[in-house]
Subunit: 113 residues, 2 copies
Amino acid sequence: MEPLELLECSPPLAREPLTAEQAAGVARVFKALGDPVRLRIVSIVASHAGGEACVCDITDAFDVSQPTISHHLKVLKDVGVLTSERRASWVYYRVVPETLQELSALLNTPATV
Amino acid sequence: MEPLELLECSPPLAREPLTAEQAAGVARVFKALGDPVRLRIVSIVASHAGGEACVCDITDAFDVSQPTISHHLKVLKDVGVLTSERRASWVYYRVVPETLQELSALLNTPATV
DNA sequence: CACGCGCATAGACGGCTGTCGAAATTGCAG
DNA sequence: CTGCAATTTCGACAGCCGTCTATGCGCGTG
């Protein structure tokens, strides 16, 4: 499943209606962020020292099982919000700033009058 | 179901991990935006002349049934993305810029090194 | 007042999703 | 090579979600 390029130039939502294809692509990312656990995962990774966190760091912060965390990480990775890198026995996750920036720009309402 | 105030000061995701409560609140909004039809609805309303659109305007843009559109509008209204106002026989919907602005600020990654 | 139109609600149904425990995979150490 | 530790994958299951049809409600018009 490719990370899917979002929008070439990220026009604000209010500029003109999104096409069905654009909406489908962007909705995938919002959907991934639409889970409390995943949202916290992103914030944990983003705010972690060095901008990265291993799975064990993340798992410790939740009461859900470790496979469940792994599942959420896969979802976030599939939509291009996170990337992963294996070093020794641990897998480290990082956020992809470009993806979040795209969404941020999209939601940046230009004084909708 | 109250529109739920998001975050008092909208700290970026990377500042510090969200609490479970914060994440739950924000995730509700992202979840609402995580559907292609709803995302297009928001963009249609936001880009419509006068910043508002009646249900008939929106329904015409989709192939789904009118009750389905009405359901999506309710979801977006419940999380504080849209507001509605009845004038005569028609109901007009508007975006709530503050809500989208909150999310935009949250995703605005501050150069995550 | 009664009808028609615009929109919302109710109920039903198939498919997706979050969760789990168990098993497989990968890499390191001995 | 063998065993261990960290992580992913698998299979299953309950609950949620998007969609539909049918129905109800509000409002303007004749």
